[in-house]
């Protein structure tokens, strides 16, 4: 089966904006990943690992950035598309949900209009049909009393309702892939679960692919089929969620999993990862995780370890991939 979305060697480089930065800054450096129909892929990493930039690069939403590599949506290269094809693809091929619905929704336009304009852009429905469809969409994402909510402005909705409204907007044109950038980070824990359940239901109902950007391993464990772990703009490791959680193949993933509070195990000591992620200005030709790593050996600083397939369906860029301890399920 052909992947809906295939990203190959994606690079994102910003010209040095701040005077402090010497030379251009490569924020994303050679990321590859696939999303299949009906599959949920987690893109995981700390703040500054390049995960949100990656998501925006896939839709060419970045300002003043140079994007390299290939982004293949059903085999067509998004990065080489002319503008009219790009517009067609955005929203209908790949749609996005952002982290902060308060910022992503236009504060001076009613919710209904913000759904209907997606429908105007991608369908031939007339005004009455668009309105009916907008009501259906709001109902589908669990907003009650949808017909009255069409005229509401974003500030008149609660945080959870705003996020639901944003999901309804993203779904309007019936996208094949949904790109969700930390869609639950701004929400209360109880609402987070509802929104994740909603996304999973939509994936199941519509057969959509979902690329979920998150820093929260708990969310990944609950929702994703496969995961791609980013560190300093590069893929550290990739594999199925079950495999990675059972047997990490990168020292960074290992440390990340140790820093996660175990479910049901009360008051065990967490092991935070010491140090800070590296600055991205001039990456040395070495593994970026070395200063914080407990498994360093001379190979790590000689060259940057390449991402290699260590098992079928598992890729790792760690020299210690076969020396990491398996995790006992807690």
């Amino acid at each position: 089966m052909m992947p809906l979305l295939a990203v190959r060697d994606l690079t994102v480089t910003f010209a040095a904006a701040a005077a402090a930065a010497a030379g251009p800054v490569r924020v994303v450096d050679g990321i590859s990943l696939d999303v299949m129909p009906g599959e949920v892929v987690g893109l995981v990493g700390e703040s500054g690992s390049g995960k949100s930039v990656t998501l925006r690069a896939l839709l060419r939403l970045l300002h003043a950035a140079h994007i390299g590599g290939r982004v293949l949506w059903k085999g067509r290269d998004v990065l080489a598309m002319p503008d009219h094809e790009l517009r067609e693809m955005r929203g209908k091929g790949m749609a996005a949900v952002f982290q902060e619905p308060t910022a992503a929704l236009n504060p001076v336009l009613p919710i209904g209009l913000q759904i209907e304009e997606s429908l105007s852009a991608h369908t031939t429905l007339n005004a009455a049909a668009r309105r009916r469809r907008a009501i259906e969409l709001l109902g589908e994402v669990g907003i009650t009393d949808a017909s009255r909510r069409l005229g509401a402005y974003p500030h008149e909705l609660s945080g959870g309702q705003r996020q639901r409204a944003m999901i309804a907007i993203a779904l309007a044109a019936g996208p094949e892939i949904l790109l969700a950038d930390e869609p639950t980070t701004a929400l209360d824990v109880t609402i987070q679960d509802q929104i994740l359940a909603l996304l999973l239901r939509l994936v199941a109902d519509r057969g959509m692919g979902l690329l979920l950007v998150t820093h929260d391993l708990g969310v990944v464990a609950e929702t994703c089929d496969r995961m791609v772990v980013l560190y300093a703009g590069r893929v550290a490791e990739a594999g199925s969620v079950a495999d990675v959680f059972h047997q990490p193949r990168h020292a960074y993933t290992d440390a990340l999993l140790r820093s996660m509070p175990g479910e049901g195990t009360a008051r065990t000591r967490l092991a935070p990862i010491p140090g800070q992620p590296p600055s991205l200005g001039r990456p040395p030709d070495a593994c970026a995780f070395v200063p914080r790593c407990g498994y360093t050996n001379p190979l790590c600083t000689e060259h940057r370890p390449p991402l290699i397939e260590v098992e079928p369906g598992r890729a790792s860029a760690c020299t210690a991939w076969n020396r990491l301890p398996a995790r006992v399920p807690s």
Partner: protein
């Protein structure tokens, strides 16, 4: 939130505002140096005449009863008789006010016509040559004083090229437009520079807003994004600025009307101050202040309509 109630509340606020304006105007007129009676009668008046006129004008009554009488009359649009012109103040103002209103209206219209498209072009070409050219030209407009711009325009277009009259107001609407064009343009130049700069800045700020990225992610065309998402949000700050500025245009008309010999309330105000024509000064200040308050009210209502978050 009850929007109609909020609007009614905002309109109700205007009543105490009017009262305070009246009070301030009354006190200010009493604080002016010199006295009206001697201004009227000249140096050779006898004490007896002075007393008679003082009594006639009610200037010998207590200050409080003068205030009450003033406010009661003003509320009915009666401002007494001009000391200098010997005609009712109301008729003087009715004759002159439309001139100033027309001048202000034309100036605002010209300023908007210049500023809106150019702000748009400047924002779209930010920091490239069209933007830099537009900003440089407007910077000159902004930093030149009104009387200077007025004189330059007069010298070139009226005295030099004979395209426009040197001054006056003409007869009939068409001639009014023709006569007021240069003075309106004079007022409009610095005004449009302010609008252009604000709107350009707002457009650039809104273009970087997250909701514009989200709109792009939906696959909307650039035209829809600009007209529906960017311009409306950018207009919010600009509307407030335009409203505030129209208020100062009404006052700024004093200089322009003097330069172009336009018979509006600006010139009437200057003449009245020189002749200590208290009733005219009071009435004009009051009316201009009320007009400015009404402009602000309209601005607030428009702002509330553009930005539903304000609840007005």
């Amino acid at each position: 939130m009850n929007r109609a109630g909020a609007i009614a509340g905002r309109i109700a606020q205007i009543v105490p505002t009017f009262f305070l304006i009246g009070l301030v105007v009354f006190v200010l007129a009493r604080l002016l140096p010199g006295d009206a009676v001697s201004a009227m009668l000249g140096d050779r008046a006898t004490d007896e005449t002075v007393q008679r006129i003082t009594h006639q004008l009610g200037l010998d009554r207590s200050i409080l009863s003068q205030l009450v009488a003033f406010l009661a009359q003003a509320a009915q649009g009666r401002f007494g008789e001009s000391l200098a012109f010997r005609v009712p103040v109301a008729s003087l103002i009715v004759e002159r006010l439309p001139v100033t209103l027309m001048l202000t209206g034309m100036a605002t219209l010209i300023a908007l016509c210049l500023a809106l498209p150019l702000a748009f072009v400047a924002a779209m070409t930010a920091n490239r040559w069209p933007d830099i050219l537009i900003r440089t030209v407007f910077q000159v407009g902004l930093s030149s004083p009104v009387f200077f711009v007025g004189l330059v325009l007069l010298t070139i277009f009226a005295a030099g090229l004979h395209l426009f009259p040197v001054g006056g107001y003409g007869e009939g609407f068409g001639e009014h437009l023709y006569h007021l064009f240069l003075p309106a343009l004079t007022l409009a130049l610095s005004f449009s520079a302010v609008i252009m700069r604000t709107l350009r800045g707002s457009i650039l700020a809104v273009l970087r807003a997250e909701f514009v990225d989200f709109a792009r992610a939906k696959g909307l065309s650039s035209r829809v994004i600009l007209l529906r998402h960017v311009l409306r949000s950018a207009a919010i700050t600009t509307v407030t600025l335009v409203g505030l500025h129209i208020g100062s245009l009404l006052g700024g008309a004093v200089i322009t009307e003097s330069v172009f010999a336009v018979p509006g309330v600006g010139r009437l105000m200057v003449d009245s101050i020189f002749s200590r024509d208290y009733p005219v000064i009071q009435a004009l200040t009051l009316i201009l202040a009320v007009l400015v308050s009404l402009t602000f009210l309209a601005t607030d209502l428009l702002h509330g309509w553009l930005d539903p978050r304000t609840g007005v």
